[in-house]
């Protein structure tokens, strides 16, 4: 059962972004900030750290494709950005795996890369005309704060989950 836990949790986070978050945290509450939940991104970065770059990229691209299909009419943007972010954030060192601080720093870096990439792609396509400074203040900083706080809550459960997964795999090998 535990093998299906990761996809299930990812799907759950994916649904929360579009439904609960949008209902309870109304965009009209904040005038000068655009709060975009990136819960799946946090989970994908942690997957890349604990499970290696290949799993990270696969999980990232799959979730991105789901995102493209459901929420946007444009295909490819999220699939590519999530896959790429998962790849460059796959620091699989032991020091990173045991330290929450490193994980938070990597997640914040990944959020920056990801937000900047999606902004860049939308800018190139012509969907948005806001300049970089505006993007930085209105989107990136709020996104760092929001998702950074959420990441703090997700770190421990995910570490436990990945430890369980490893134990399960050890058992399978015997």
């Amino acid at each position: 059962m535990i093998r299906f836990a990761l996809p299930f949790i990812l799907f759950l986070l994916f649904l929360l972004e579009g439904t609960w978050f949008q209902v309870f945290v109304s965009p009209s509450l904040f005038e000068n900030a655009v709060l975009v939940p990136r819960f799946t991104l946090i989970a994908i970065v942690l997957t890349a750290i604990f499970r290696g770059p290949l799993t990270g990229v696969i999980v990232g691209a799959a979730t991105g494709l789901l995102y493209d299909f459901v929420y946007t009419d444009l295909l490819g943007i999220y699939m590519f950005s999530l896959g790429f972010t998962a790849y460059i954030s796959s620091f699989t060192y032991h020091a990173v795996r045991v330290s929450y601080a490193w994980q938070v720093i990597i997640i914040l870096g990944a959020i920056f890369v990801f937000e900047w990439m999606t902004y860049g792609l939308y800018y190139v396509i012509g969907y948005t005309e806001i300049i970089f400074e505006e993007f930085f203040i209105m989107r990136l900083v709020p996104s760092w704060i929001l998702n950074g706080v959420v990441a703090l809550f997700l770190l421990y459960p995910f570490r436990t989950l990945f430890h369980r997964l490893e134990e399960y795999e050890e058992l399978q090998k015997r």
Binding site: V23, Y71, L74, S90
Partner: protein, 309 residues
């Protein structure tokens, strides 16, 4: 990053960039319908989203109710004052309706641009990355929802159906910044109605832009903006908003106006999808030429007025 960018990985990166460009190019075209994997995934995810969003709306509604309870007294006073006005208005409406009926009978008009059927749908998601302003609803092709139909809440127009799948569809809100997001609107003035287009959203002033108003038109703040029904898909007379500001456009040839939308684009729980029953722009235009058989019937369709809905 110990494994970063060896030759093999560079090739993979290049290939995926090419795939990305190809995918974007494919989906940037004005697609008539979504591809089958998209529709399948949307339907499947839509089921889960419905399950999730209903309790959320319920809980949000509960807190909203508590807030409402606190200012019930004030509201009641206001409503009582409005009630008298309402009685006289509804009497007037009745007589106007009757008059309208008889007038319609006199000119044998069976259909008008104001006729429509309405389907109620629940909002199941909203695009979380606010680059595009879209929401998902739980009615799709199987319920008769088609592309470009008007979507309204109780307060007024909020957008149009962008894509459909079997059980869900995506609604593009009026506040979406996409250039193809246009609605043919009219302003009811004391003289003739003035026709113009709702085009885009003003981020700074938080309002819709009504563009291409003729310069001799008599437009001022406070006037109501409604759909004109000339675009081909929307019925006439759906409320859009109220004019706040009027200014000359950048070339000085026409006027632009800032419109405060009457509907709330956030906190949407339930919407109505509207299907216009009258097919053509004006019934008389297609019927008249029947007597002179050589002439082709004049049909005004979307292209004649620039594919606006």
């Amino acid at each position: 990053m110990p494994h970063f960018f060896s030759n093999k990985r560079l090739i993979i990166l290049m290939v995926s960039i090419i795939v990305l460009v190809a995918l974007i190019g494919f989906s940037m075209r004005d697609r008539e319908a979504a591809t089958w994997p998209e529709r399948f995934i949307r339907d499947t995810v839509g089921v889960a989203q419905s399950v999730f969003s209903q309790p959320a709306h319920f809980a949000a509604g509960f807190f909203g109710d508590i807030r409402d309870l606190l200012n019930v007294y004030e509201e009641n006073k206001q409503l009582k004052a409005q009630l008298d006005e309402y009685a006289s208005l509804s009497a007037e409406l009745d007589s106007v309706k009757q008059e309208n009926e008889t007038l319609k009978e006199m000119i044998d008009a069976e259909e008008s641009l104001t006729d429509y059927v309405m389907r109620t749908a629940l909002v199941i998601h909203r695009a979380p990355d606010q680059w595009t302003e879209t929401i998902g609803i739980n009615k799709g092709e199987n319920d008769g929802v088609k592309k470009d139909m008007a979507v309204v809440t109780a307060e007024g127009l909020i957008g149009k159906v962008e894509t459909t799948s079997a059980f869900t569809s995506t609604v593009q809100l009026l506040s979406d910044g996409n250039r193809s997001n246009r609605v043919s609107a009219m302003v009811s003035t004391e003289e003739d109605p003035v026709y113009a287009f709702i085009e885009g959203w003003d981020e700074e002033r938080e309002g819709l832009m009504l563009r291409k108003i003729e310069s001799h038109a008599d437009i001022e703040a406070g006037q109501k903006v409604i759909t004109s029904g000339l675009g081909g898909v929307f019925p006439r007379g759906l409320s859009i908003g109220e004019i706040v500001e009027v200014e000359a456009d950048e070339y000085g040839l026409t006027y632009n106006a800032l419109v405060k939308p009457s509907a709330d684009f956030y906190n949407i729980e339930q919407v109505n999808v509207i299907e216009r029953t009258s097919e053509t722009l004006d019934q008389t235009l297609t019927e008249e030429p029947e007597e002179e058989e050589e002439e082709e019937p004049v049909e005004l369709n979307e292209e004649d007025i620039g594919g606006v809905s």
